[in-house]
Each structure stands twice: as C-alpha cells, then as structure tokens.
Amino acid sequence: AQTVTQSQPEMSVQEAETVTLSCTYDTSENNYYLFWYKQPPSRQMILVIRQEAYKQQNATENRFSVNFQKAAKSFSLKISDSQLGDTAMYFCAFMGTSYDKVIFGPGTSLSVIP
C-alpha cells in the first residue's frame, strides 16, 4: 500500500523569505502523480502544484516549485517570496493507478510571519 509522510507538523517563515516543505512517499508503482494541496484557514482545499512521475523536470507554478527525486521517493515544495496569504495547511498527496484514488500525508501547518 502507498503511504505519504510529511515529517514537519508545523513550520514558520518570515514574509518574503523562502521555505521548503518536505514530503516522502512509498510505492512500488512506476507511473504516478504527486500533488501539493493547500488548505487556508477558510478550509477549502485547493491544488497548488502537480508532478507527473515520468517527467524529470520539476514542476513550477509562479512562486511555488517542487524538488522531485524519484529514486529517493521525495517530493518537497518550495515557496519563494512567502506572503501572508500562504499561511495554511499544506498536504502532500499521491495518486497511483487505482481508480484515481488519492492518498494524503498528515499535513504541515505553515505560518507566514509579518
């Protein structure tokens, strides 16, 4: 069974600084997708960024980028120029080949400090 681990329950960063959130996963599959979701205090979960395992190039979305290390099964999220609106829970997620089912990690609570 696939598992997703986030080893940092809480993190904080100064506004305008850069922060990296860690994620590792375990799977025997070769083709899969990885995601980072954000859940602000208002609660609605939204997608931040996605990565396809067969693509070696790391995904980027504006201030958000990932460091995908397939051999190490690592998928970290880097947030550059942190903004107050980045304060949220961040969940790493894995989707394999089973009915589009998505497995989530335990989450990292990020606080951006003014």
Binding site: P9, S42, M45, Y99, F104, G105, P106, G107
Partner: protein, 114 residues
Amino acid sequence: DVKVTQSSRYLVKRTGEKVFLECVQDMDHENMFWYRQDPGLGLRLIYFSYDVKMKEKGDIPEGYSVSREKKERFSLILESASTNQTSMYLCASSLQGARNSPLHFGNGTRLTVT
C-alpha cells in the same frame, strides 16, 4: 469553475443517531470521494464512487456507508453515530481517467457527536 457543495458546515448529533452528510457537484465528474480530516492524520479516505450506484471502500470504511443514486450527488451515512466519529468531513470530486486532474473539494462539514 467546479463547485462542490456540502449541505452543512456544522452539525451536532447525539450518539446513536443516524447522520446523513450530503455532497453535490456541478461539473459532471464521474469520481466522488468522502474523506475524514483529523489533526496529525491528514485526510483519510472513507469511501469513493466512480459511477452511479458504484462504490468502493477506502481506508477507514467501518461505521460508514454511502449512496450514489445520481451522478452529481454522493451521500455519506453514519448508521449509528459514535463520539469517535467527531471530525471534519470533506467531499471531493474529479474527472475519471484524467490522470492529472485534481480533486475539487467542498468546504467541509464539522461534525460533533455528543
């Protein structure tokens, strides 16, 4: 934009009551999911459905059942609510077969069982 609507934002129920959590999506998505969110545990999949009248157990189905009579609606049922089912419940939907299609979430229902 996809809209996923959960009928209640907050619910308070008594032990032993039968509880219905309703979810409706408006984008003709085939896949629908019910997750439970608890601090430190992230999101855990309860049940999912990939078609009308079809359902699959997730990781923690015990104590829950689901119903999908129409494509747009997916209901979660607690047959006899217990205090350990106090939690945040999140409904989500996605396109089937679009492997990089993200989950679209509702705002969540905070259920308290007393």
